[in-house]
Every structure is written in C-alpha cells, then in structure tokens.
C-alpha cells in the first residue's frame, strides 16, 4: 500500500497513472478538479488557493488512511495546488487503485468529498472587479 499526499505549486496531470498503477490493480479511478470559467454566471479570471500546509498534509494523510481502512486499495494519491490558477488549470488530483473497479470509484469519490470538508485550504474567486473567499459567509 502506497499513499502519495502533496501540496504543490503546479500539478502535473500526466503522471497520475504511473503514480497509481500497480501489478495488483485492474482499476484506477482519478478525479481532477479544475478552474471553471463561471460561478453563478459571473466570469472568474482566476482562483487563488491558500493552505495551512502542515495541517493540510496531516488531514490529507488521514483521509488517505480512512479510505485505505474502508476499501481494499493498492495505492492512493491526494494532491492539491496552491497559488493562483487560471481557467482550465488543475487544482486538485485525487485517485485510488484497486483490484476491481467498485472500490477505486467509491474511494475516489470519498477522497474528494472529504477533502472539501476537512482539509484547511481556502479558495478565493477572482472576478474582474472583486475577489471573494468561497463559503466564508452564510
């Protein structure tokens, strides 16, 4: 069992297969989160991500361990980007590999859902004339 947990300036989308591939894995499921052009019909020029890095890495590691405890996985990857990201750029990559496909699909969904709930990373949406910390206010 191998887990990769990282916070980086720029995510490489090309290496995820080799990071998750394993002789015992018939299935690999990956989720990429990316910057979308519009939020509620307002044009986003960029997203800016800030992390409490040491704690975020610990929380990501816990999420990986929870997934490993819950499903029969061979490898897990959780990586998040920080800094300013433009439209279409990747901001998060999570994935899992397993013998059969159900486990990696369910685990992958769990990884991204839980990351969004617990990992101390913050996203600021930058519009033409303003910027907003997402979810900060009710």
């Amino acid at each position: 069992m191998k887990k990769t947990v990282a916070i980086v300036d720029d995510l490489d989308t090309k290496t995820v297969y080799e990071e998750l591939s394993d002789r015992s894995s018939g299935g690999i499921c990956v989720f990429f989160g990316a910057v979308r052009e519009f939020t509620d019909n307002e044009e986003v020029t960029a997203l800016e991500f800030e992390a409490y890095k040491s704690m975020a890495l610990k929380e990501m590691d816990k999420i990986a361990d929870m997934a490993i405890a819950k499903w029969d996985l061979n490898k897990v990857v959780i990586k998040h980007a920080v800094g300013k990201k433009k439209v279409e750029e990747p901001v998060v990559i999570v994935g899992a590999s397993s013998a059969h496909r159900s486990a990696c699909f369910e685990a992958c969904r769990f990884l991204i859902d839980t990351l969004k709930e617990t990992v101390p990373i913050w996203k600021k949406e930058i519009f033409k004339n303003k910027s907003v910390w997402v979810s900060a206010h009710p």
Binding site: E50, V92, I121, W133
Partner: protein
Amino acid sequence: MGVEMLFFGIAKDIVGVSQMKFSFTTETVGSVGDLKVQLIKDYPALSKLSTFAIAVNGEYAQDDLVLKNNDEVAVIPPVSGG
C-alpha cells in the same frame, strides 16, 4: 502565557496579519472556547463568518481543549479546497 496565532483565508483579511503572538492570562483565556470569545471581541467581523474552527498544533480542537504556552493556534474559516 501566550500562543502563536495563525490566520488564513478571510480570517487573515479580517485580522490584517497572517501571524501574531497572542498573550493572555489563564484567567481570561484558558480553553479554545475562551479564545474564540476573545477573538470575536477583538475582531467582531469574525462572528459574521459561516463558521470558524480552531486548530491547535495542527489538529482541529474542541472548545473545551485547554491551551498550553507556545501552542500553535490557527483560525480556520470555512475551508473551500478542491
């Protein structure tokens, strides 16, 4: 006694710094809950957030956790990674 405070996201904008020493007597601040009350007194805009959590030494902390000298205490506004 005192703790090292860290502020992230909108909390950093509200407080105006990302890091500060926060000194207190154990009479005014003992627990995480006490600290939250004090922070809202000092920075009323924090009370307008959807929620905010406190992490002590990199772990989410409940209100009843008692702070120790030199703890690293972070104000965690609603997370929005991913």
